[in-house]
């Protein structure tokens, strides 16, 4: 099978029948469930745009494994150009959907595991990398969507995984067999989980020697025996059942349709295991994944910003205030913040590097700066969107009231804008801004790909503070500055002695310091 279209992707989900629960009910038909459909449409966009000539340059790539044209969401980055195109793809999809399109987690998992399994095999002589490449080739050929399942339930955060009272708070190996392993545990907040073909697991943190059974990475089909999904709620989610207008972004939804994944005695065959006890490589896997994933946020969230900036301007125009200086000022601030984040993402891509595996990785320091900016700036540009949109975004009546002949006429008059803008369109746009700026998208920007504290740890670790201290000491004159001595043609001590002498000759008694 070659690259799927959006429609083909949706149809491909019909045969899976994963075990999914929502609202206490087992959902037998995931594809046609109204609560899930916006998320499925969004993921389908990642397939559909790959078939458009106007987008294929960034939506597709050439597989280094098969030489075939593939969807970029299954590609291993082979150069800086791939990293940059990945960032551009993120922004494009954010623009097209106004929400999380889910598939980047799996993409980042593919790349992180590719990089790490190579290094593990170099050290231990294992064959994880070849196993992974075999599985990856299938993913590319069939154009599959694997969900990236990293975050464990984690229980008492003060305890390491092996110390947890309930071991299932972390996904772990229960039993090792000749031909595979039996695993149990819980992964939480897994984006796009119910509408992915496969689950690709990774450890959620650095593991110690005693956590060996938790140092675990594998892939299994999402309908594997023993796997259960519990779909999460989003802000105002049941409005989808009330009316499209009230939902805000009825076609594509809000955030990534996250789910809890419960693994109960799930068998994983050897050929699908990519880490099973190599605890000393968990840091590399987690940090490589986090680097890739954090870099994305300056793409996708900026795509969302493009939508909300456009919506804010349109709303201001609809109310006749688009030329007001305070509106222009707010819009300009929104744009500047969004483009700052975009600059960070481009920079961390252009500053990427080749890993021993041959795959390219982004600059991890800059990727963490991207994400840290996102945790703050998304709130700020969404605050400004609310400011411009006005109080209507939280006081609008329902679509059902609009449909009432008598009330509808009154509401129409109440919410009318300037000539040329229909009330219905104004309400649609206000609902979109409400969806994007009031709801779950904000904490998603905060915690997705790791919370701000995690980014700060990485930034502190990789900033090279010792070198900055050396720079400051040199400029301050505490340590030798060879460049200065070359410029002046003498050592610093002589330079300052002569300098003081010159000043004293001009202004007797003015220089008494002996610090230099």
């Amino acid at each position: 099978m070659s690259m799927m279209t959006g429609k083909e992707y949706i149809e491909s989900l019909r045969g899976l029948n994963p075990e999914v629960y929502f609202f206490g009910q087992k959902i037998n038909n995931v594809v046609d469930e109204p609560m899930f459909q916006p998320h499925i449409h969004t993921a389908a966009m990642t397939y559909e745009l790959a078939h458009r000539p106007e987008y294929e340059d960034i939506m597709t790539a050439t597989s280094h494994l098969t030489g075939e044209k593939i969807n970029r969401f299954t590609h291993i980055h082979q150069g800086i150009d791939d990293l940059v195109k990945k960032a551009r793809m993120m922004r494009l999809l954010g623009q097209k959907t106004g929400t999380c399109f889910q598939r980047c987690v799996g993409l980042d998992g593919l790349n992180a595991i590719y990089v790490t399994t190579y290094d593990m095999d170099q050290k231990y002589g294992t064959d994880y990398h070849e196993r992974f490449k075999t599985w990856l080739t299938e993913v590319q050929k069939k154009d599959l969507m694997p969900s990236g399942a990293m975050t464990d339930a984690r229980g008492d955060r003060n305890l390491r995984p092996h110390q947890q009272k309930n071991k299932d708070t972390y996904l772990h190996i229960k039993e090792r067999l000749d031909h595979g392993i039996i695993v149990s545990g819980i992964k939480a907040h897994i984006t796009g989980a119910i509408n992915s073909h496969e689950i690709l697991t990774m450890p959620t943190r650095t593991m110690g020697e005693e956590d060996g059974d938790f140092a675990l990475s594998f892939a299994i089909p999402s309908n594997a025996k023993g796997v259960t999904f519990v779909f999460s709620r989003q802000t105002n989610d049941t409005r989808r059942l009330d009316s499209p207008l009230d939902a805000g972004n009825p076609k594509y939804g809000i955030v990534g349709g996250e789910a809890i994944i419960i693994f109960k005695d799930v068998f994983v065959p050897n050929e699908r295991i990519f880490m099973a006890g190599e605890y000393d490589f968990t840091t590399e896997l987690v940090e490589t994944f986090a680097g890739y994933h954090r870099s994305n946020y300056g793409g996708c969230k900026v795509g969302l910003a493009d939508v909300v900036v456009g919506g804010s301007y349109w709303t201001a125009d609809a109310h006749g205030i688009s030329k007001a200086s305070h509106i222009i000022d707010k819009l300009t601030d929104m744009i500047a913040m969004a483009e700052t984040c975009w600059s960070c993402t481009l920079a961390c891509s252009y500053e990427g590097y080749q890993t021993p595996s041959g795959a390219y990785h982004i600059n991890p320091l800059l990727a963490n700066v991207v994400k840290l900016n996102i945790t703050k700036m998304v709130y700020e540009w969404m605050r400004l969107a609310q400011d411009i949109a006005g109080g209507k975004i939280i006081t609008l009546p329902s679509e059902k009231d609009l449909e009432n002949p008598e009330l509808g006429r009154i509401i129409e008059e109440c919410f009318v804008g300037k000539e040329g803008f229909s009330t219905s369109d104004i309400i649609k746009m206000l609902r979109l801004i409400e969806n994007m700026s009031v709801g779950a998208g904000l904490p998603e920007a905060m915690h997705g790909a790791g919370s701000p504290a995690a980014q700060k740890i990485m930034i502190a670790r990789r900033s090279g503070i010792d070198r900055k201290v050396d720079l400051a000491k040199s400029v301050a004159g505490i340590t030798e500055d060879k460049d200065f001595e070359q410029i002046t043609g003498k050592d610093e001590k002589t330079y300052w002695q002569e300098s003081k002498k010159k000043i004293q000759e001009k202004m007797p008694g003015s220089v008494n310091s002996s610090a230099f």
Binding site: E351, G352, Y353, Q354, P356, G358, R467
Partner: protein, 110 residues
């Protein structure tokens, strides 16, 4: 005498001390009585070229994309030598090993 051409990246934000690395390498060559000449003039032909990029991005590798064998090229990019991760403190020893290997490949020892 075995000659090593040095090429430094621009050094905008290095994660290693590039000149300190070469100082350390020179001292180790000297301490072991290995005669070697380090040349920064780009026009002078040398037996080997050593690329010293301050970070893993490795700007210099864009100038030397083919990794030609004549002369052979060894690339340091931050805490990596070639395609291996190497801690900064260990880079000089790894380089001595790599340079010796290259020299022996064409005959003789440095």
């Amino acid at each position: 005498m075995y000659s090593i051409g040095l090429r430094y990246c621009g050094g905008c934000n290095p994660e290693i001390d590039r000149t300190g690395l070469i100082d350390s390498l020179k001292q180790r060559f000297k301490a072991r009585g290995i005669p070697a000449e380090f040349i920064t003039d780009k026009e002078t032909p040398t037996d080997l070229i050593l690329l010293i990029s301050g970070c893993k991005h490795g700007c210099l590798e864009q100038e030397f994309p083919s990794f030609s064998q004549d002369p052979p090229i060894i690339s340091v990019r931050g805490e990596m030598v070639g395609d291996r991760y190497v801690q900064e403190k260990d880079i000089p020893e790894v380089l001595i090993g790599s340079i010796t290997e290259e020299k022996n490949r064409v005959g003789g020892s440095p």
